[in-house]
């Protein structure tokens, strides 16, 4: 009895410490939400109110009004990059997991190395190359550029999963006369859904959050993703904190969704297979 009580106390203490850690880590986010629900005037009041005194969504509707287009632009680009990435990654992962090529090790090595290349190196070259191809200030250009965040990562994640699939299933399909493509489409892809979903979600997130390519591959604001529009908005209206925070909250939504969807899935190797950024 006494022992159990002590155990309960320790466990309660652990939860308390964990809550403090989480609280400290998420404090800036809390503060962003609070500020986004204030009026401009309230955001400058001192001492600052820790809760929004009279919560208002004015900043949000203002953001939808002024930056709704950018949110849509980001969405289109992120979806595009995800689709491109999956179309290339899934067959490649299938091949790397199941077939033996002489170049398999080289391709795998390249995928690891590709993720270490600083974005600014690619961005600078893309700018020059895309200028010649008329791909600056275009959706297609940004989709292609952003997909470089996703493809190496996706191949590695999906391949690692496919290697774990029972070999017998593929053998059985072959005995039944299925083609390689048929096996991929009807057996491997459905079985690999969790990994493909993970790859898709992260691809979307990487492209959605891209700032570097948006910055380097735009010379006008004709195609302006949300990250770039927040950046330029900040340059013009540094002190409009409620609106800036509302925009930040909008921009953070995909991260929140991703966290909920793959809560169980995100584990160690997530990051080993892919470097964010």
């Amino acid at each position: 009895m006494k022992f159990r009580r002590r155990k309960g106390l320790i466990s309660g203490l652990n939860v308390a410490v964990a809550l403090v850690i989480v609280g400290v880590m998420l404090l800036p986010l809390y503060w962003a939400v609070v500020t986004s629900l204030k009026t401009l005037h309230q955001s400058y009041a001192t001492p600052t109110a820790l809760f929004p005194p009279s919560p208002t969504f004015a900043a949000y509707s203002q953001v939808v009004h002024t930056q709704g287009g950018s949110l849509l632009t980001s969405f289109i680009i992120a979806v595009g990059a995800t689709v491109v990435s999956l179309l290339i990654s899934v067959p490649a992962a299938y091949a790397l997991a199941n077939f033996r090529f002489r170049v398999t090790w080289l391709v795998t090595l390249s995928l690891l190395v590709a993720q270490t290349i600083p974005g600014i190196v690619l961005g600078t070259s893309f700018f020059k190359i895309f200028a010649g191809l008329h791909l600056l200030n275009s959706y297609l250009g940004l989709i292609i550029a952003d997909s470089t965040y996703c493809v190496p990562f996706s191949i590695l994640v999906v391949r690692a999963f496919m290697i774990g699939l029972p070999r017998e299933l593929l053998e059985a399909a072959r005995v039944d006369g299925a083609t390689l493509l048929g096996t991929l489409l009807r057996i491997v892809i459905p079985l690999s859904r969790p990994a493909i979903l993970t790859a898709a979600l992260f691809s979307f997130l990487f492209a959605w959050g891209d700032f570097l390519f948006a910055l380097t591959l735009s010379t006008s604001n004709s195609v302006e993703p949300m990250t770039l529009s927040i950046y330029s908005y900040m340059g013009q209206y540094t002190s409009q904190w409620p609106e800036l925070m509302a925009a930040a909250v909008f921009a953070a939504i995909p991260s929140a969704i991703l966290l909920i969807l793959v809560q169980q899935g995100i584990r160690g190797g997530m990051a080993t297979a892919g470097l964010k950024g």
């Binding site: 652990n14 989480v22 998420l26 270490t116 190496p152």
Partner: protein
């Protein structure tokens, strides 16, 4: 490693995959079959060549060509050897950029690794909601860099920032600190921002590694009467060494690439006090329109990264053998 890799493949899962001898069909199929198989890999190979290999080579070529505003549009600059590298290395800004980058990297990596490790150790305890609370800590890592940058920019804002307010409530300061006007403080702030992003990532990998330590090892240590510190030093650290190596190498590569938060929070200022190699490469190319020098800096960064990448791959191999 017998178990199937989980979604997203655990750390060891990825390793296992590169470790296993290729699982392809034992007997090589006929030529026709081979050609069919290659088609699955071909798009990815072309992709890698077009969007990684070509731009990298292009960047290196850019760095050995003359570049000026005139050659800006048409890439017609002549070959100038290592001139751009010489210009970059003798650039009066270089020492401070290298210094800033070093401070930024060492500060970020040391802090995010230690704090991440402590949190990871803490979360090996069993208590209600631990999984849920642990996953909440990942949030800063999942946020787009621009979001992180702008939120922390506000936290440190001299007028409405929470940081100044807390410091002044604690009686530590009497007038608001201008975080972004002071060269030292601005660098400190971007390091803190990067630590905030890096902690979850370090915690995630280290926690995964800690979970993989067989429980029997700890049992044995306890039977032998080893204390906590002793157990940590003699069991946890040695077993975790490969994971720690991977975490540090990834931290290095990732920190070297950092760009978004710096651009958003300080733009490299004040007076280049937060100019890092990455933001400097950008500034040289896109502000000064000196693509040659910008590409030279980029190529140097890439070389540093590649050295690290090979350390990374070697770590993989080292872990496989043991």
């Amino acid at each position: 490693m017998p178990e199937a890799p989980e979604i997203g493949a655990t750390h060891t899962g990825v390793l296992a995959s590169s470790a296993k001898p290729e699982r392809g069909d034992r007997a090589r199929g006929p030529r026709r079959l081979f050609r069919g198989r290659v088609l699955f890999l071909l798009p990815a190979v072309i992709y890698l060549l077009a969007l990684f290999a070509y731009p990298i080579v292009y960047g290196i070529l850019l760095s050995v060509r003359q570049s000026s505003v005139i050659t800006f549009v048409h890439n017609t600059g002549g070959f100038v050897g290592l001139t751009n590298y010489r210009l970059a290395v003798t650039n009066p800004l270089l020492p401070s950029v290298v210094w800033n980058t070093a401070i930024f990297m060492v500060g970020s990596i040391v802090a995010q690794f230690s704090i991440g490790f402590l949190i990871a150790l803490f979360f090996t305890r069993r208590f209600p909601l631990s999984g849920f609370l642990r996953s909440l800590i990942l949030v800063p890592w999942l946020l787009p860099g621009v979001v992180t940058g702008i939120i922390l920019r506000m936290m440190f804002d001299p007028n409405i920032g929470m940081v100044n307010q807390v410091l002044s409530n604690l009686g530590l300061i009497h007038s608001p600190i201008e975080w972004f006007a002071n060269t030292h403080l601005a660098l400190l702030v971007i390091v803190l921002a990067n630590i905030w992003i890096g902690i979850p990532f370090n915690m995630l990998l280290l926690h995964g590694g800690l979970q993989d330590i067989p429980h029997e090892l700890y049992e044995a240590a306890r039977v032998d009467g080893a204390g906590r510190l002793r157990t940590f030093r003699s069991i946890t650290l040695p077993v975790m060494r490969p994971v720690i190596a991977v975490v540090l190498v990834l931290g290095f590569i990732y920190t070297l690439k950092a760009f978004d938060i710096v651009m958003i929070m300080t733009g490299g200022g004040p007076m280049n006090a937060t100019q890092l190699l990455s933001t400097w490469a950008y500034t040289l190319s896109f502000y000064n329109l000196d693509f040659g020098q910008g590409a030279a800096v980029g190529t140097i960064m890439m070389a540093i990264s590649l050295v690290c990448a090979f350390a990374y791959v070697r770590t993989y191999r080292g872990e496989l053998r043991s």
